[in-house]
Structures are given as C-alpha cells and as structure tokens.
Symmetry: C2
C-alpha cells in the first residue's frame, strides 16, 4: 500500500545532504524532510550524552512532521543513538554505519579496511565492531579527522587549504596498505575527490550514505510503505536548519543542484 | 545479538539451490535448511490454490526446524503466497520478486525489461505490477517458459536439447529491444549461459535469487539476528526433498560444489 508520508533525514549539519542527494537519485518518488543542526555542529567532539540529547531533539522535531521512516544521516549520531532510538520508535529507523560496513566487506580483497570519521565515531569503534563481528580476520585501521567537518560546513571543500589538511590527516593511513576506506562521516563525500587523490586510485572509497539509501529502498518495500510513482516529479522536499539560513541554502542548492529550496530556520532548544 | 538459528529456504524443486549458493557465498556464517518439493515439481502449471496449499506445507515443515527467517526461493510461490505468509509469521519472510524488480530497474537504461518465468508467475503479473508501480513509464514484456523447469529438474541444463528449447522459447523476446531480462524463476540461473548466448551479450540478466540474498543480508542486520562469525566454517546445512534423493543429491553436490551433503527425503502430505 502506498504511503505518501515523507522520509525524515537528520544530521549535525549539512553532511547528511550527501545522503539526501543519493535518496533523490534512487528514490525519485519519495518526499524528503531534512533537518541539519548546523548551529551546534560539529557533534564529533561532544560528549556522548550531549550527542544523544541533541539527536533526540532532532528526532522529536521530525516525528512531529509525521514521517514514515527516519534516517540518521550522521555517523556520530548513529554510533551513539541509533540503538536507543530504533528501539523506541514504531517507524523504521536506519543509521549509516551498518550499510557502510557491509559495503566495505564486500569491496575489500586484502581484508584491510580503513575508517575515517569524527572523534566520537572513531572512539565508539562502531565500524570496527560491526566489521570484526562479521569477519574476525579483517583488519580495521581507524583515524579521526576532526578538521574535515569544519571545512565542509564553512563551504570550503574545494579550497587549497582543504587539500593540505586532508593530505596531512591521511598521511599515516597511506602506509597501511588499505584497499578500502570508509568515509565514516556524511560530510566527507564532499571531500571525496581530494581524499581519492591523496589515497590513490587503488583504494576503494565507501560512501556510507549512498549505501544507506539502498537499505532505505529495501525497507520501504519490505514494510510496504514506498510512495506511489508521480507522473510529474513533485518536489515538496522541506529543509530545516538551526544555524545560518543563507549558508545552508547556498551549500544545499549547490550540492543538490536545485534552483530553489523550501527551507526554514528553527530553534531546537526547549 | 547473534542468533545461531538457521535460515529456511524453500522451493518447488532444486531451483532454490541457486539462491542457497549465493547465500553460502555472501553469508558464510549462516546455517541453511533447504526444502525442495521435488516430487510435486513443477508448481508453475498448478492452480493458485494448490500452490498456496503446498507452500504452507513447506512453511510448516521449516517452522518446526526453528528457523529465524524464511526465504521463499521460488517465484511461483512468492507470486501466490508471500503476502499471506509474511502477514502470518512472526519471523521475517522474504520472496524473490521484489529484489529482482529493484535490480532490474537499477540496471535498465532504455526502460524495456523482459521477464521470463513459469506460467503461474507470468500470469500473476507480479514483476510487471511491482515494476510499473515504481516506474510507470517502464515497459515490461513477459514470457512464460514452461519447458525450462523440467529441463533443470531432470539435470539436463547443459544438453543440446536444452539449447534448442531455450532458443525457441526466447525467439519472440529477442525482437523486443530489451536491455534487461529478469530470470523470474530460480531454476533459470542453471540455464544462464544458454540464455545469455541466445539473448546476446548486451542484455543484462537479473538473477532474482542472488539479489534476494542482499536483502536477506540487510534484514539479518536490521533485525539484529545475524549469526556470529565462526573461526572455522561450520557446515551444518540440512537439505530435504520430497522426490528422488539420488537425483537431488547429485544436482545439489554439483551445483553447490560440495563433496557430501546432509540430506533426507521427507513426506509433506498429511
């Protein structure tokens, strides 16, 4: 039975838009409501309790919009909050860590997988735990890259300073003979060309967000809640942010290739 | 939490083994219990009520084995019984039609998709309905190939008579400018080289069974019921059939590349 309700996406900032971009490509019939907590971004350096609190605030906002499915399009929030939120809600809840891990295990040939992410994601060892549970002989090498999110949030992902910072951060990983590297933060696909250049062509980059949309697609079918096909692509996507609306609109329009977006600044704090 | 119970697979005959083969490759930690109703195969020409009745009998047998998930590895049974069985059981139930349809939509470039299957599957229009619900402008051309299953069940998939029968059956489809063809019967991957030869290299063949295992893999994670990794690959797979045990064992060992299998002939009728 068709379900025309929207899918809710949330992220600490604009990174989750990389997941939305993939959703718009793979699921053209679905309506999207996006919330980026840009004012309090990055979540990466924050204590777990605070990440959990903020993630619940975003969840409540989206639930009020009557969403049919929730995508935690943020690795930090997934690592800390997915399990609790999934257990509490009666709609499907999807995070980005499991799909990325599955894709990396499918891609690797030498069983040496790298993971880059924020400090919270890396300290949680969420990717390493999932991967080694499935495949104990696979080596997982992790590296926190706390400087990457601020680059993306300030709309400087193609600057020369971005190149320097990425090269410096990944220097150690280059010596690890990885054949697969998980972009364990939804902001990082915006730095993908630079990361690929630094790591070399032989390393497969896994975009956890894109993998997540395949899972969303499957679950929409499994629970029989996919939207019906529209004759004309009706775009009623809604975007919400907590920080600068201008900066958000600019990066969103550029990244999603949209001329106009329906966006509104909101306040999450009670 | 790891769940060491087996995944149950069922089919009207040996065709579902093509799905099992993919499960053994993608999910090496999972234990498999397979039931092929070889005595009453093919299901394709039978009335829907009978297919439903037989499918319920197979389901009951597998439920008694305490399976954690059920895969209806048979297009005919999926078309007729998936919805009812899924609603009735409290374990996840997966069919082969939805995953095959999704994969075909992802593969096609010219939006002309062919489907071959048994008479029941083709008459049910199950693939066409799913595909056109998602993408109304996609053309779906169907063709029932009732002679294919008996060829496979009699272990003659690489004979010269098989080549003649396949070429004759697909003759009309070749003129339809398809770029994607769904093997809408789990027996057909055993005829894949011949089908590919007849259709030509430019046509992408979609193996619904293989696609189904990607869905099984996701659902094992989503419901947190994947088996834990084994240090040594423990093979405790069980195979049951209702017809000739010798014929079943031969084709199973050959197709799954196993030296020995743990199999037993059973009686499904009450």
């Amino acid at each position: 039975m068709a379900n025309e309700a929207a899918i809710g996406f949330m992220d600490s900032g604009v990174g989750g838009l990389t997941v939305v971009k993939e959703a718009m490509r793979q699921l053209p019939n679905e309506r999207i409501i996006y919330l980026g907590d840009t004012k309090r971004c990055p979540y990466g350096p924050r204590p777990n309790e605070q990440v959990l609190e903020f993630t619940w605030q975003m969840t409540s906002f989206l639930l009020n919009k009557k969403i049919k499915m929730l995508v935690i399009a943020c690795n930090t929030a997934t690592a800390v909050a997915l399990e609790e939120i999934k257990k509490s809600l009666d709609i499907p809840v999807v995070g980005v860590i499991m799909p990325g891990s599955r894709a990396a295990l499918k891609a690797t040939r030498n069983n040496r997988i790298g993971v880059i992410g924020t400090e919270v994601t890396i300290n949680s060892k969420a990717y390493a735990t999932v991967i080694q549970k499935k495949s104990p002989h696979t080596k997982v090498i992790q590296k926190a890259c706390p400087k990457f999110v601020p680059i993306v949030e300030s709309h400087k992902a193609s600057s020369s300073i971005a190149k320097m910072i990425v090269a410096e951060a990944l220097n150690g990983l280059k010596k690890q003979q990885l054949d697969t590297l998980i972009l364990g933060c939804t902001h990082y696909p915006l730095l993908k060309p630079i990361i690929q250049h630094v790591m070399g062509k032989k390393v497969t980059l896994i975009d956890s967000g894109a993998e997540t949309i395949s899972e969303v697609s499957m679950l929409l079918d499994y629970f029989d809640i996919a939207a019906s096909a529209k004759k004309e692509a009706v775009r009623e996507h809604e975007f919400y942010m907590t920080g600068s609306q201008n900066l958000f609109n600019n990066i969103t329009k550029e990244w999603l290739n949209l001329k106009e977006i329906n966006s509104r600044k909101i306040n999450l704090k009670k």
